[in-house]
Symmetry: C2
Amino acid sequence: MTKVCEDCVVRDRSLCGTLDDAALTEMSRLGRRRKLAAGESLQFEGDDNILCANVLGGVLKLSSLTPSGDAQTVGLLYPADFIGRPYADTVDHDITALTEAEVCIFARAPFERMMAENIQLERQLLERTLSELERSRRWLLFLGRKSASARLAGLIIDIDRRMAQTGCGADLGIGQLIQLPLTRTEMADVLGLTIETVSREIGKLKDAGVIATEGRRGLRILKPAALKAIMDSE
Amino acid sequence: MTKVCEDCVVRDRSLCGTLDDAALTEMSRLGRRRKLAAGESLQFEGDDNILCANVLGGVLKLSSLTPSGDAQTVGLLYPADFIGRPYADTVDHDITALTEAEVCIFARAPFERMMAENIQLERQLLERTLSELERSRRWLLFLGRKSASARLAGLIIDIDRRMAQTGCGADLGIGQLIQLPLTRTEMADVLGLTIETVSREIGKLKDAGVIATEGRRGLRILKPAALKAIMDSE
DNA sequence: CGCAAGTTTGACTGACTTCAACTTAAGTGG
DNA sequence: CCACTTAAGTTGAAGTCAGTCAAACTTGCG
């Protein structure tokens, strides 16, 4: 008999990582995997809040629509990230796969029961939520105070870091090929900019030799220090 | 003998609200009150993370300085709100009193011990952190996508709501006098705008009869529906 | 190869910023 | 109690960054 969740690529890094074998066995009974095609949504703002999940693979976004119709992405979800908001009745944001993605879904009620019985689960989630709050607040500073170029640099650096953590490969490896999980439109939605501005700013970074692009989604960071400087600049 | 924390104005609404008498007694031994003058800081970004606290009275801000020197306020703290980030080594933001304020401070280590022993405390903090994350994400949408007027309207509505919860008085009571806890400069720091723009936008709202001002910090909402409409507009 | 979606580029516009002068509010000491 | 002082807020003119609208160009898939 194979060990529970043995084939789970995020077994150690996900919320479940802290569980002992018995708890993990029960957890695995509650969870079921689901694949999402790029563009497919897991839930929509206003839905009944019925699920929690772990991201197994791919990248997803958390987004809201303004009444006037344009989108703002408020967070990106990478493998091992947790999805969901226990204890809430309704869902606050759309969750949509940016790339092909796979998630391990738990119904909310049994997940909450697991949390009550395994305090380390709750503790883990608290720590993650606190980090996520911190990430979100740092991004507030970008949207509130930084220029288009600084925002873009910040996003590229963030993606690089998260992709490095996720797959293999070092953070800010010079010249390494990154597959962007977002289209220009999606980048614009994260950055609070328009697609045209994003395109122009990418052009400028290319012209300056800071990055190189390869097709639509391929990107290489050629001058990490310069990119960081742009991110930190006003 | 008087009951523990009996005179605490936020006894029921704060994180401590869920504790039983025994736990509250211990908690009260750990906490000590501190008054802050307007403008005084409780901690600075980068400090060792040594404290957690409950806000007893007044309004405080969470803020960061960009490398280029201007401030972005990433959150406002009202009575009963929790301050601090358990489990982290350093502090992520400055915390500064906007008005005269009072807080109930706990050293971080014993606070974490209390959390370990009283799971409802951890659970409460998790729920609060999840809400705070949600608030922060909603604000992301404002900074990313909304015009100066919509942001200002959003801030006024938020302040009104929080002040109403905090003191007495109904939410969005027409014509009721609100004492703004922020100066124009501080509003600008929250909104990601300049002080001049804030001033001009307030002027426009006054001209439109949506609000009235009284001195520097007094404000009345005359047309709540109109204000909400402006907030929701692009 | 051809098409459609995605992206880039250009010209123009506008919202917010910047810089600067001026006004008001609120506290202080004579 | 009022002139004085100073910080806070308002107003105006000019500049700029990013948005809008529109057209051309890629890219990758069928």
